[in-house]
Symmetry: C2
């Protein structure tokens, strides 16, 4: 309900600006453009969404990349494909601003999550427009309803309609709107559209390393993920890092009758439970010695913007059917801290399949979310020191017989490589200039948070390219991202279009100088 | 190796007795009988083993019961089927000893575990004899090798060859041996052969309650399970009880992105790990308040016989590839205590399937092994009090939305009914008389233990029939019981035959009187 009120206020605010004639000239022209061309924009987007885009589908991924090259060509964006062996091509584009010294660079990805077609209400690669969400009784928009701008709550259903083709389409349409309005970009623009993000971007580090000169910019803006649940726009100054860990604790070599051997033969599930309890308490406090040592404290300014973000905890609890949250603090405060999530447990059998046996092994799957200035390699060392202190002998492969007979408590560790977090200071001059620019189109509705809870490899830009980087999402949060019936709320596309038009045309060399004084 | 030496000494001991002519007359006649008739005995047994005997296979289970009725008829045992609605018939048999006042009663079961035929080296219901175990290079015994008594290490492969048709066949052959030797039973004998033990004997309590007069006896002898790993004969004076418990801890109603919600939304796997760690430590000490309060201490005599049992811990550790056992004490000492086994854990996913999500629930499956004087209902109360003290709200079905929104920590408990342990005092006069009688055939090799680690509903006899009850196994421990390629070592059948012949003919009214003075 609260979200709905937020939405309404934001919705009417925009209309009020439009109706009151208070709009700056450039925005008025951009808005008239998309209101007049909404059908054409959606038709072009539907064409893009019709190309299946699972990263492993080599042929179709190539079709997506070539579609993007053609889309850039049409808009006179200098473009090329960046190739890395074993990876889908990345699409690069560039526009030189006249005499501009600053370069803004934008990242998005054109691949999407695999689909389980049976779970979808319609073909994931046959985009279809509904006047409102299906679950709220939405009906298909009729062909003769050519002015889609009149249906801000309409939903476009297709894989990647939100994640992450939406920002790409919004950028392309923003370029059209500016061109039609006779407005030239005020800075140099670069675009990098990746094709394997949903596989974890395994080749992105080497792609960036191999193209450092090409990808040189003053500020990288990563366009992925949804806006705030209140539908207000949001900018994240950083993202948590991540490292995953698979743990296996070993018991007897074969399942043993729990009556004949129970409490004599070691129970690996009991060992695992005790181990996990030693890592974190039920309130989520991580008990690993030194784990919080590298956590960089929040500045007063960071604390202030967190406190200003709209409270969502109570609504979330109702939605998720939980009566509590772990420990103390709001969800925003929690996300500023590292996390240890148990994503899975497995040992023996439960329920109807349970047998009166001591299992041979017990497994847990963990993911650690890291905040500045934690590093995956440092976290690995702390965890391993903790396990050794508990008396575990660490192995990195299935233990052999000699190992089993020598060491009482054996644990196998399978670490994911992981990557570090990144967080830009709030007073970074480029970031500040970008915020000021953004406010020209979103007013005082912008929410700023120091970190997004999820992990995004922002560090590639800050550590390899030594460039400040931010996250700017545009799509709706209720978009069924990754799941069946993914959709985009059209209003988010139009808002995104205006946001990109604003950044492309209003961000300029002097904006930065002015703010850094 | 140690077991092998034990076996050899026992094997030669028997032969020495035979060759030296030291045998009592009754035993000499019984032994000559089975040595001469070994082929006929095995052929009759093969016929019995050829009838499939899974409890749910109504038709074949009936064939087994009728085969037993005919086998009793042939031996002039008064017999009848005991029917309970929904259960396979139990086969009852009775022989009145001339003027005997005492009654010995024997329990065994004729049903067997379900089979996975693909896992078997030969058809589980086409019994086949090998000269030694298949895994030691055994070869099928040739038809012309008609004197099976010359192959004590031969193995008979078939479902239930050991578990639990072997004691039944040994009893039938013992009756034959006594009859052929002109020896009459010295006491009244009763037999109860059940047909659904491998399903957990769900109807045995009501069957016993409905037939209390018929099943009246002075001592019940339960013939199930294997002899000691050293191949020495064993008698258990009791069995542990059992109660199983399925636990489900609840988290958010849908899986949540661990980055966006981790350490804010409660993680049910972390709650479960902490809960389990609070129930028992890695050394197997149960931390539930009052859990050990009802444990009846062992007497000095019980401690003495445990200390006398052959040490097997080091051999077992090598076999099971473990470098330690939980806490302190030998496996025999451990089995005298209650146990809390974690038989399964499940939450989210592990390994390749792991996702960066907070699971919606976490499950554990537990079994408690109880020792005298613990009771399932009392253990349930202690566990529930412990969980409440941890702050859990207990439910017994899937929690509804209102419950989820009201209580922070919700746990669902699914208790199995369970049953109590039973342990006969070592100085029980009937039991003492039986041991003395047994020693006439097994000499000083008998191992006595106060409890078997597994759970057997001995309490039905001690609590419903108010009759002392013991467990007397006869089959080899390396018999692949419950698994594929179940087998019986022939020597165990002959030993069993002599043991039953001894109990049937040598146990008498005066034996008890003499010992109870």
């Amino acid at each position: 309900m609260r979200f709905f009120i937020f939405y309404l206020s934001f919705f009417f605010l925009n209309f009020k600006i439009l109706l009151s004639g208070d709009l700056p000239g450039w925005l008025e022209r951009v808005r008239i453009f998309w209101q007049e061309k909404s059908k054409l924009i959606i038709e072009e987007y539907q064409e893009f969404l019709s190309i299946p885009n699972v990263a492993t589908d080599e042929e179709n991924i190539g079709r997506n990349a070539r579609w993007l090259v053609r889309a850039f060509d049409k808009r006179e964006v200098e473009t090329r494909l960046l190739h890395i062996a074993g990876a889908p091509p990345a699409v690069y584009g560039e526009i030189k601003g006249s005499e501009a010294k600053l370069t803004l660079a934008f990242y998005a990805h054109y691949d999407g999550q695999p689909v389980d077609v049976a779970q979808w209400a319609s073909d994931p690669w046959k985009p279809i427009l509904f006047d409102k969400p299906r679950e709220l009784g939405g009906q298909p928009l009729r062909i003769d309803q050519y002015d889609y701008s009149l249906y801000p709550e309409a939903r476009l259903y297709a894989r990647s309609a939100s994640d992450d083709k939406a920002p790409i389409m919004a950028m392309l349409a923003a370029l059209d709107a500016l061109k039609a309005s006779g407005i030239k970009p005020a800075v140099n623009l670069k675009f990098l559209f990746e094709g394997e993000e949903e596989m974890g971007s395994p080749h992105l580090p080497s792609l960036i390393k191999a193209n450092q000169d090409l990808l040189k910019a003053d500020l990288w803006i990563l366009c992925d993920g949804p806006v705030h649940q209140s539908r207000r726009p949001i900018v994240y100054f950083g993202a948590r890092g991540i490292v995953g860990l698979e743990i296996t604790v070993y018991g007897p070599i074969r399942p043993l009758h729990s009556g004949h051997y129970g409490h004599w033969a070691p129970n690996p599930a009991a060992l695992l439970a005790n181990l996990l309890a030693s890592l974190r308490d039920p309130d989520g406090n991580i008990l690993i010695e030194g784990f919080y040592r590298d956590v960089r404290p929040l500045t007063g300014e960071e604390k202030r913007i967190i406190a200003e973000a709209p409270a969502i905890d109570e609504d979330l609890k109702k939605e998720l059917k939980i009566a509590w949250s772990e420990g103390f603090g709001s969800i925003y405060e929690k996300i500023m801290l590292p996390a240890l999530n148990i994503r899975g447990l497995s040992s023996g059998q439960v329920g109807q399949a349970a047998q009166n046996a001591i299992p041979t092994k017990a497994q847990a799957s963990l993911d650690f979310r890291l905040v500045p200035d934690q590093r995956p390699e440092r976290v690995k060392a702390l965890v391993e020191a903790h396990l050794k202190k508990l008396g575990f002998h660490l192995v990195y492969a299935e233990p052999d017989e000699a190992t089993r007979l020598k060491f009482p408590r054996i644990i196998r560790l399978e670490w994911e490589e992981g990557y570090p977090p990144a967080r830009l200071p709030l007073n970074d001059p480029l970031a500040k200039a970008m915020i000021i620019t953004l406010e020209k189109v979103v007013g005082d509705k912008l929410i700023i948070l120091p970190l997004v809870g999820g992990s995004i490899p922002l560090y590639l830009f800050s550590e390899i390219l030594h460039t400040p980087a931010l996250i700017l999402p545009i799509v709706n949060h209720d978009n069924n991202q990754h799941g069946p019936n993914e959709n985009l709320r059209l209003k988010n596309l139009w808002d995104g279009l205006e946001i990109f038009a604003c950044l492309f045309s209003q961000f300029n060399d002097s904006a930065v100088k002015k703010r850094s004084q």
